[in-house]
């Protein structure tokens, strides 16, 4: 069986469109990261410090009443998340907003205000601000080291332009994940960072598949224009790019749908990451390499113009100087 047979899509010709889309995504991602650095994003308490408590009630509770009741008890800033299945409620209080034992206070409030509705504490997490700061620092180091490691590996495996293409695609995927979480106001916590790093490692799979084919074809088709070789290569490996992603996507989506509330956002991040990684390997990685190649080609071509007085027209991206 074949899902995608012989395609002839002009990916390279549409690169301007994908570059614009991706630039917007990347900018949103950067804004998200800046907001995270400023603690203005929806931060998990593992980074910001604070208290999070998950309660399971015997009967449904009205969110309005919960909000009103918490506000009456100096916990107006508490953020609430209702988990539909099983009358569960997640209450989050940042450290900066409430001093004292928030978990005890919250439990006391619910005991007092919902006397007929018993609850059990399914989980409670209290994190001091010093831990959050340390974790932020550690995470920054971890992310930097992993990105550096990936870049070094790519640099070793590919020559400069392909290396830059792969790196940009990887960074793009990371930024896109931040962008989605920022726009949807989903919580940025340690698990999200874990998902981001996992995708950063995974994202290269698809990119490498395309790159390997481009290199192979470049050696085979010396006379064809470079854009054609790129397009042909991407089309040739389309089906495997999509299918490798599809199998991982199937696994991630079943985690997202059936894995339970604890890893719901984590699985969501993985799903987003897998989709974005596939997109970037087709629409970003190779076109970036082509841009770099043709720019280098132009410089070389200009030198030739100076030497031979031959004029070149615009749109000669297709001319490519093979490296000796």
């Amino acid at each position: 069986m074949e899902l995608i047979s012989k395609t002839r899509i002009d990916f390279i010709g549409k690169r301007k469109v994908s570059f614009v889309i991706s630039s917007i995504i990347a900018i949103v991602g950067i804004i998200g990261i800046i907001q995270i650095a400023r603690n203005a994003a929806n931060m998990g308490i593992d980074f910001s410090g604070g208290t999070e408590i998950q309660l399971k009630f015997t009967q449904p509770v009205s969110m309005e009443k919960v909000r009103a009741v918490l506000a009456q008890n100096n916990l107006k800033e508490a953020s609430l998340q209702e988990i539909k299945e099983g009358n569960k409620l997640l209450v989050k209080v940042g450290k900066t907003r409430f001093t004292g034992n928030a978990a005890e206070t919250i439990m006391g409030v619910f005991k007092k205000e919902f006397p007929g509705n018993d609850f059990v504490v399914e989980s409670s997490t209290e994190i001091g601000p010093s831990i959050g700061d340390k974790l932020k620092k550690d995470t920054l180091i971890a992310v930097s080291i992993s990105m550096l490691g990936i870049i070094i590996y790519i640099a070793w495996r590919f020559d400069t332009r392909f290396g830059i293409g792969a790196t940009i695609a990887t960074l793009h995927d990371v930024l896109a994940m931040f962008a989605v979480f920022y726009v949807l106001n989903k919580e940025v916590n340690l698990l999200f960072i874990t998902a981001v790093l996992t995708i950063a490692g995974y994202s290269l799979t698809d990119t490498v598949v395309v790159f390997d084919r481009i290199r192979e074809n470049l050696h085979k088709n010396l006379n064809e224009s470079i854009a054609n070789v790129f397009n042909k290569s991407i089309n040739e490996v389309m089906s495997r790019t999509v299918i490798t992603s599809l199998t991982t996507f199937l696994a991630a989506i079943s985690l997202f749908l059936f894995g339970g509330e604890v890893i719901h956002d984590f699985a969501f991040a993985l799903v987003v990451g897998v989709v974005v990684a596939t997109y970037s390997s087709i629409f970003i990685a190779s076109p970036v390499v082509l841009e770099l190649e043709s720019r280098a080609g132009k410089i070389k071509a200009r030198k030739e113009i100076e030497n031979s007085n031959l004029s070149l027209e615009n749109g000669d991206d297709d001319k490519w100087n093979l490296k000796a």
């Binding site: 290269l204 490498v208 390997d212 199998t247």
Partner: protein
């Protein structure tokens, strides 16, 4: 069968056997009696997020330990000078690392210097300063000694906490030092986390201090050697709590480190629990002296700067036993006895992280994780079988092998499985067939070029090899970093992911190939079902 094939098949079967061997304790509820000796007995460890429990990170306030040591030295110098009939104005700690002795004359200063040199050679003596008719002598604890003291304080705190947890009774606790001044405590399956936390985090510094009856709490300024502490009293009938301030001498006459035992007893008259304590010989002697000279005065029993009770000394008490009464429940009394037996912490600790997962959520997570895994497997298996037909089944076989090997490896290495760890395994279901997809697509291509099944197969595996390596190496880089920096659940994710990726290299490159080679070697295959 070719020689290479035999070798590879044996390797696959050997790993399979080992995996099942290590998984037996996890899969079988009760091990049969003949299962002993070198055979593995440990189940796969479940993280606290799966089995429920409490994860605590505590910070030892090590500076307090240094200050405590300086206070002790100051008190000891006071006693020594008094014993030699030397007069002084004041001896006490100033700042974080100094002791100041304010003396009346140079002679005393010299004697004090000699005394310090002999008893506390690690203390640095700063040049004496004369001002306003007093001789000012300062001692400083140098950085290295202070660091040693801090280090020792954390080690002591760790030991004390271990004692307390042992006496409290928690199965398989983890108590470890982390970094300079952090202690990590994991209490799996604990039922009453609040009580345990209170028990562990309590400093439990027991002191006996004399009440200064000449001064009332409202007196200002208080005499320099006095302080105000409060006594909490609960009315047994109304349950109302009242706080009574009392002026006590700052200096503790007797401290908790002179105890040998503490037990809960029930007062037969009021049916109230109390804690009976026993002093060692030094403590008994001191207690005897103090009570003898202070009959009629009140003696405050102070724990962590709270007065438990302040009974009047009616007569000299020798024999070295005493009682701590107060309004507490039997549970509170038994916890108090535990902390007194286990000893006090050398410095207060602060709980800076407390993650508690209830057993119901843990069980729910296991259940949902397994469900997601099974559905993931089903989706991928169906897809591969439909898309690649028989070859897809081979890839599925590789995936199943991958999961079995991974679970076996987790059991063999004693790794901890967390919920993100389960997620990593589910993710690997997808990733492991990825490698085979790359290989199969390549084979299809080679076959289209008109190659024979055997040649197409070999070329497919060869050419896909580098691509597979690339993606595995980069994922491994991030997994290794996550392992290094992550804690708890994230570490579990990193462990599952990195092990899975290494194993996947084996199953996708070697194990699935064996199946194809085996079939091709046996039968004359005209076309591959791919």
């Amino acid at each position: 069968m070719s020689k290479g094939l035999t070798w590879r098949v044996s390797l696959i079967l050997l790993f399979l056997l080992l995996s099942f061997l290590y998984l037996t304790p996890t899969l079988v509820g009760k091990l049969p009696p003949w299962w002993k000796g070198v055979l593995p007995k440990d189940k796969i460890h479940l993280g606290l997020d799966l089995q429920g429990g409490t994860h605590l990170v505590m910070e030892v306030e090590t500076q307090k330990a240094v200050e405590g040591t300086l206070d002790l030295i100051a008190t000891d110098l006071e006693d020594s000078l008094t014993a030699q009939n030397l007069r002084f104005k004041r001896i006490g700690r100033t700042g974080p690392d100094r002791i100041q002795l304010v003396l009346y004359d140079k002679g005393t200063a010299e004697t004090a210097e000699k005394l310090v040199k002999k008893k506390y050679p690690e203390m640095e003596i700063l040049p004496t300063v004369e001002e306003g008719g007093f001789v000012n002598l300062q001692l400083r604890m140098n950085e290295k000694t202070a660091q040693d003291r801090k280090d020792k304080a954390v080690a002591q705190a760790l030991e004390t906490i271990r004692n307390r947890i042992d006496q409290f009774g928690v199965s398989e606790p983890v108590i470890a030092r982390e970094g300079l001044n952090h202690i990590v405590v994991q209490l799996p399956g604990i039922k009453d986390p609040k009580r345990a936390i209170e028990l562990i985090g309590r400093t439990a510094r027991l002191e006996f201090k004399l009440v200064d009856e000449n001064v009332t709490p409202s007196t200002t300024p208080l005499p320099e050697d006095d302080e105000i502490l409060t006594e909490k009293k609960t009315d047994p009938t109304t349950g109302a709590v009242s706080e009574i301030p009392l002026v006590v001498k700052k200096k503790a006459m007797i401290t908790g480190d002179l105890l040998t035992d503490a037990q809960v007893r029930i007062d037969s008259q009021f049916n109230q629990p109390y804690v009976a304590i026993e002093f060692n010989s030094t403590g008994a002697k001191l207690f005897d002296q103090v009570t003898a000279t202070n009959v009629g005065k009140r003696f405050a029993i102070v724990l962590d700067n709270n007065i438990y009770s302040a009974p009047v000394i009616r007569e000299r008490i020798s024999g070295g036993s005493a009682q701590i009464t107060g309004s507490f429940t039997e549970k509170e009394a038994s916890d108090l006895a535990i902390v007194l037996r286990a000893g006090s912490l050398p410095a207060p600790v602060q709980i800076i992280q407390n993650v508690t997962v209830g057993p119901s959520l843990g069980a729910d997570s296991i259940h949902k994780g397994l469900l997601a895994g099974l559905i993931g497997v089903a989706l991928v298996v169906c897809f591969m079988a439909v898309y690649y037909k028989l070859a897809g089944l081979v890839a599925n076989l590789g995936m199943v092998l991958n999961i079995i090997y991974l679970m076996g490896a987790l059991a063999a290495l004693g790794a901890t499985l967390t919920l993100p760890g389960i997620a990593a395994i589910v993710l690997l279901i997808g990733m492991s067939v990825d490698s085979n997809v790359l290989i199969f697509e390549r084979i299809r291509e080679e076959l289209r070029l008109g190659k024979t099944p055997k040649a197409g197969l070999d070329a497919g595996y060869d050419k896909a090899f580098l691509t597979i390596m690339d993606s595995h190496v980069t994922t491994l880089i991030t997994a290794a970093v996550l392992f290094q920096f992550g804690t708890g659940p994230v570490k579990g994710f990193a462990v599952s992911l990195s092990l899975g990726i290494i194993i996947n290299l084996f199953t996708s490159l070697l194990a699935t190939k064996v199946v194809f080679d085996f079939v091709l070697a046996r039968k004359h295959v005209k076309s591959l079902s791919i």
